[in-house]
Amino acid sequence: MQWETVIGLEVHVQLATRSKIFSGASTAFGAEPNTQACAVDLGLPGVLPVLNEQAVAMAVQFGLAVHAEIPEVSVFDRKNYFYPDLPKGYQTSQMYHPIVGAGEVEITLDDDNTKCIRIHHAHLEEDAGKSLHEDFHGMTGIDLNRAGTPLLEIVSEPDMRSAKEAAAYLKAIHSIVTYLGISDGNMAEGSMRCDVNVSVRPQGQAEFGTRAEIKNVNSFRFVERAIAFEVERQIELIEDGGKVVQETRLFDPERDETRSMRTKEEANDYRYFPCPDLLPVVLDQAYLDHLRSQLPELPADKRARFQTELGLSAYDANVLSASREMAEFFEEVHRVCGDAKQAANWVQGELSGALNRENLSIQNSPVSAHQLGELISRVLDDTINGKAAKQVFQALWNGQGKSADEVIEAKGLKQVTDAGAVESMIDQVIAESPAQVAQYRDSEPEKRGKMIGYFVGQVMKASRGTANPQQVNGLLKEKLDALL
């Protein structure tokens, strides 16, 4: 039987505010345990939450970026459950009136096609603390620094049909939140976490199968692997006459499998109700208009503009717009050299290759966008040829010179375009290669084009690579043909 996979994602994005969502404690990562957990975060008696305006603004910016409805009124609810890293006994969240309504995100697939994934809603909530189960004489250690950190939970519709689409969606969300600057998107530090809802159904069946929820899938790679495993597990189960039960499962990246955590019967009853400590949040049109006017150009718009305005291929436009840093680097290179295609080739070719080899991100590139732009300009204005350009790039990468011009000067790489100088080199090569000249003269005219390569090579060598290959080619042909 042919099976179809149905996937929905819940993505938790940690918002890049300085202080917590309901208190003035710092959200900085990596502090000593419990040094950033104040009375509000600890849930001490008598404390009251006060909502952070920046958390609200960031949530709304996300909503605007995914073309979502932003309701005028949103309300905070209490989600009640007991766990030691949740000292209040409830998580302040939004259940019935979230801050961001229905929207949509465009994802790009391998074949450069795009697909729209609908967003069901996105809501604000606070993060919990951390439980450390290592050896504390049989006790559990609790660090509440993370408690109260603002999260935006983005809930998709079950619109994805493969692990690849799910990964592409997660990447799209990642690039939107990092373009907006509302999150650092650092998955290793937990700034983006993901729960995956997966089910399978026979191809062509309208109703969904029973889904399993996989918790805490925390990298792009794990999303694909967790889904691949889970899909296979469910299909095997059904084909062996079993039934998928609705349950929460945990992905174990070391064993590459998902394990049952709790079934629906054991599921928590969270007893949501409106939080009496917080009033409804009301956003007026002027506020939304103001935030809309501050939005940067977003990945999908950039991708489209790179294709239509700069004439890049869909593939190039997609790669270069994937992250804000990459896009900004490319745009600076393009601004300096004025040639989009060359800028795209260099950023994706020489530069990306070097970055990958040394495992560097583009923000830490030893060659700046400005330097690369100038280097390309020197190729475009024929100061150096392509081969010399690679030498210049390598020198800049190694810190041997501040600019392309400095390296070109210091290494004597300037292309010799003075026809007289090139001609004298050609004359010398012809004089020193009587055998090859004779061969050239005696061969069929259609074969001569190929034979000229030898002479070009010799002239380039004589010029130490500084001659212009096209110019050498033209002049050589003239001179050799004159000998016929």
Binding site: R18, A25, T35, H133
Partner: protein
Amino acid sequence: MALEESHVRRAAHLARLAVSDDQATGFVEDLSRILDMVDQLQRVDTEGVAPLAHPLDATQRLRADEITETNQRDSFQRCAPAVEDGLYLVPRVVE
């Protein structure tokens, strides 16, 4: 609504309250009376009335995103039963 002892047991479990058998019987009666009152409220015609999220006719005020809290871990941890390496210690929990 007819409340049964199993409902009381479940609510007590969710609230992590220890309830004895005698207490449970009493709670069934008490809570049933509260639910009867809720039933009475449910009968009111609320057609066209928007649900109320908060009794105060006011909206949430926001605060600027500034760090105003300083580290007071030592004083907070003075009332904790067990701490180590800056962590609060609790009976072992394993999900």
